[in-house]
């Protein structure tokens, strides 16, 4: 059949992907609010858990690396250095891990009602961001106590760092999340990536320690990692202004940060592309 005029007709289930998520942001907001409300339901400490976890993690690393391995005496204000890197990686890890599982977790809905499925990884990332905010407030508070006076570029850098992490996490979540629908191997693989992520970016140590050992081409790869750029932007924004010029910024930080943003954007597009290729099978494979 070749209908004369099908202009007002739509093909059900063929949305505009991430654009539809933006169009239906009210639903996105409700999904995020739901996750946030439900998260610590039934626990006595409730939202305190979102402080307890990073603080414990911080104390363990501080004791092992700061005290035992004496980084505390070689890196000025090491606690701030450590914490600002940790919360960056935590934001990424939580968004990526939950985003990858989000489609499987919402199988009941996906199998019954059509809605832009990109909604789920995006919502997971925003939930991770909501969880990140109290940690950022703690960091901000500590920084202010030790006399943090950031410049405008510092603040812009922090915002760029967040944008890199969010775009990168959404892209990777769509990529691995859509594969995870058919092959649950993906979520285990993602856990592995997350395990490694903390160590292949300068969270616990300084980038100069890497530079002194590895060949230059490895250093280029190391710096092209969007997480490295985001962590260094956080260091430059939060930690560096609290020290006496202790920050030996990596060369071309601005260029690498823009490159990182580019890589994150490409990842986002790639994630969307793969997601759309696999999406038609979601409802029947879950």
């Amino acid at each position: 059949m070749a209908p004369a005029d099908t202009r007002d007709f739509v093909r059900p289930g063929r949305g505009a992907g991430l654009i539809d998520v933006v169009r239906r942001r009210y639903l996105l907001a409700l999904l995020v609010r739901k996750e946030v409300r439900v998260r610590y339901r039934g626990s006595a400490l409730g939202w305190l858990w979102s402080y307890v976890k990073p603080v414990t993690q911080f104390l363990v690393f501080f004791l092992a690396l700061g005290v035992f391995l004496r980084l505390n005496s070689t890196i000025e204000n090491y606690p701030i250095y450590l914490f600002s890197g940790l919360i960056t990686i935590n934001l990424f890890s939580e968004a990526f891990s939950n985003g990858t599982r989000s489609l499987v977790d919402n199988a009941a809905l996906i199998k019954k009602i059509y809605l832009p499925r990109e909604m789920f990884p995006v919502a997971s990332t925003f939930v991770a961001f909501v969880n990140f905010l109290p940690q950022a407030v703690v960091l901000l508070f500590v920084c202010l106590l030790v006399g943090w006076r950031p410049s405008v570029p510092d603040v812009l850098g922090i915002l760029l760092g967040m944008a890199i992490i969010l775009a990168f996490a959404i892209g990777l979540s769509m990529l691995f999340g859509s594969v995870n629908v058919s092959f649950r191997d993906a979520q285990n693989f993602v856990e592995l990536i997350i395990l490694v992520a903390t160590w292949i970016s300068p969270v616990l140590y300084q980038w100069t320690m890497v530079r002194d050992i590895v060949p230059e081409w490895v250093m280029v790869l190391y710096q092209l990692n969007p997480l490295t750029a985001a962590v260094e932007l956080f260091h430059a924004g939060f930690w560096a202004p609290t020290t006496n010029n202790a920050f030996d910024a990596p060369p071309n930080l601005t260029e690498y940060s823009l490159a990182a943003f580019g890589i994150a954007a490409v990842t986002l597009l790639l994630g969307q592309f793969v997601f759309r290729r696999l999406e038609s099978r979601f409802a029947q494979d879950l």
Partner: protein, 243 residues
């Protein structure tokens, strides 16, 4: 075939094949491939189905279990994609496919109304405007701020159905949900569905209650083994089905 001027749903040459995969991890797939074992088998759920539903019609999709009628409804709602052919819809579509799919037990009735109505495609303003009507229809005013997990199953279904039936749509897809609640509530639901039909909404209903669907719907489309077997007045379709 009818023209498309007044059409709300066009189904042309639609085929849907399910791939039944026998492996569930990369390792299994890899081993199966090496051993040249079958990784998957296929099942033809729908095969070359054609029909046009005009705006304002009420149509029952009939068929025995496994005939493919629910698959067809999921294709119209966009949950599934056809492998062959094409489906086109005009206007807003809402699927009452399994009521309450988006409900969360830890949220209150009020929060669930907003969440579900938004899932079904309503805007905040539309929900605000209809909120009181939704609550009144469900008859659970007193418990609206109680968490849904404390509801009885009847209360839960009433609320879920009430949200779905009040969505602002042109085409309403109803799958086997008219069996909700007790008898008085069922009558109320049927009355509401008839009212929507009178207001010019397009209805597509799937149910095993043949007498009920033939009373709501004017037209019946009988699906057997994934093919369209009969398309005509609903009473005739039911008679044909009962053989």
């Amino acid at each position: 075939m009818q023209g498309i001027d007044g059409a709300a749903i066009i189904v042309s040459g639609v085929g849907k094949r399910f791939l039944l995969r026998h492996t569930h991890s990369l390792k299994e797939t890899f081993i199966a491939a090496i051993r040249r074992k079958k990784i998957a088998s296929t099942f033809e759920a729908l095969d070359g189905v054609d029909f046009v539903i005009n705006a304002g019609e009420s149509v029952a999709l009939l068929g025995f279990n496994g005939s493919g009628k629910s698959t067809l409804l999921k294709l119209i709602s966009g949950v599934y994609q056809p492998d062959r052919g094409e489906i086109l819809t005009r206007g807003r579509v809402a699927g009452l496919i399994e009521v309450g799919a988006g409900f969360h037990p830890d949220l209150s009735g009020r929060e669930n109304i907003y969440l579900n109505a938004a899932i079904l495609g309503m805007s905040q303003k539309e929900i605000d405007d209809r909120f009181d009507e939704i609550v009144a229809f469900s008859e659970i005013e007193k418990f609206i701020d109680t968490e849904v997990k404390h509801y009885s199953s009847g209360m839960f279904l009433r609320l879920a159905f009430s949200v779905a039936i009040h969505t602002e749509v042109d085409i309403l897809l109803v799958d086997e949900i008219l069996s909700v609640g007790d008898e008085p509530f069922q009558h109320k639901c049927l009355a509401k569905i008839r009212e929507l039909h009178e207001r010019g909404k397009t209805l597509v209903v799937v149910s095993h209650d043949l007498d009920m669907v033939s009373s709501i719907c004017d037209r019946g489309i009988l699906i057997r083994d994934g093919r369209l077997e009969f398309d005509g007045p609903s009473k005739d379709a039911v008679a044909h089905m009962r053989g």
